[in-house]
């Protein structure tokens, strides 16, 4: 029943773009979009609400890319950046995708700056983070060996406890893309866990 079928589902990235294109700027404003408009109008509490709603997404995306110890600071930086640049967002309905893009760019900047400042281990898998218990660190290490797309979706699902539809809604990806990413990511993860157990 949950087996994903159809040619379109085989291309999650193009699906996501198609979904974003179909969304367009003229669709009805969602409750989240109304919050965005309220922030643009000067309502700071509305931004706190957006922080509550989208904080887990930003946290999950960062967790898939940067060391655990630095994630909380980066979450703050991402929301601060979004707060300053909110006027550049034309379609309030696209806030989630816009914020996810800022978050991914911020993670790229983090690695660029880290390379400039000091030599860090290139493999994130060995840098799950201090203060994380062994079982969680092991699971994180395995997930971080997966391709980026699956890594991000699985982090949002397992760490942040978001369901597939919630991930799609927050990140701006289509539900089909998220479903494919979850399915394939989990399949790869199972394989890796199996390999780990046999060794």
């Amino acid at each position: 029943m949950s087996e994903v079928k159809g040619i379109a589902d085989l291309f999650p990235v193009s699906n996501a773009r198609q979904g974003a294109a179909q969304a367009g700027p003229h669709r009805a404003a969602s409750p989240h979009a109304r919050l965005v408009e309220a922030v643009k109008g000067g309502d700071r509490q509305a931004f706190d609400r957006l922080y509550d709603l989208y904080g887990p997404m930003v946290h999950g995306i960062l967790l898939a890319r940067v060391p655990w110890n630095d994630v909380d600071d980066l979450v703050q930086e991402v929301f601060l950046h979004a707060f300053k640049r909110l006027d550049s967002l034309r379609d309030a309905n696209a806030f989630g995708g816009w914020l996810a893009m800022i978050t991914r760019n911020r993670a790229v900047d983090y690695h660029r700056r880290s390379r400039e400042m000091e030599e860090l281990p290139l493999d994130l898998a060995h840098n799950a983070g201090e203060g994380v218990d062994a079982e969680a660190a092991e699971a994180m290490t395995l997930i971080r060996t997966l391709p980026e797309t699956y890594r991000e979706t699985l982090m949002l699902r397992f760490v942040e406890g978001m369901t597939g539809p919630e991930i799609a809604e927050r990140t701006g990806l289509t539900p089909a893309s998220v479903r494919v990413n979850l399915h394939r990511g989990m399949k790869l993860l199972r394989e890796k866990m199996g390999v780990l157990e046999t060794t």
């Binding site: 000067g42 706190d48 922080y51 509550d52 967790l63 703050q76 707060f83 699971a139 699902r157 989990m186």
Partner: protein, 189 residues
Amino acid sequence: MKDDYLWDRSGEPDAEVLRLERTLGRLRHRPRPLELPRSRPLPRWRLHPTLAAAAVLVLMLLGAGVWLALHRSADATTQRLIIVGPRPVSLVGLYRRAESFQPSVGDQGKQNADVRSDAERASRQRRRLEAGQAEIILARRARERREERMMRESEEAAEKLMLALRYASSKLNLVQRQIQVNKEHGPAS
């Protein structure tokens, strides 16, 4: 199928998924208080009021320049048209010839007719000349009136331009003072 639980937590739970949820759920986002600036910064284009004011000044100067150039060229065209008007006819030679004319006795009748004809022609020429001169005088007066009006309009335009420049300058000073205050005390919320 077990993937339904992975998708939306419906259906039969998968043991591996449950274990991952439990293990990794400990790392879930714990929101810290968000430290935001007192107010959102203005959009980038509003961050440069000095540039905006300068652009307005340049546009106003350009507009005034174009306006003056157009009016000057219209004035020159009018002057050329006036010059092309009726030209004065010199009748001095004709008068002198008529005064020095002394007819012989035999040709008296014919000469009398010629003299009358010359006098009529001279009279017509004189009337035409007077009419032409009157036309020239009228055109000159019209031109003078036009020049006075244009001078008056130019002065008014210059006054308006100066007023606009003073207004823009005061606005610019105001914005610069506001920027200075914001730098010293932070933007007002």
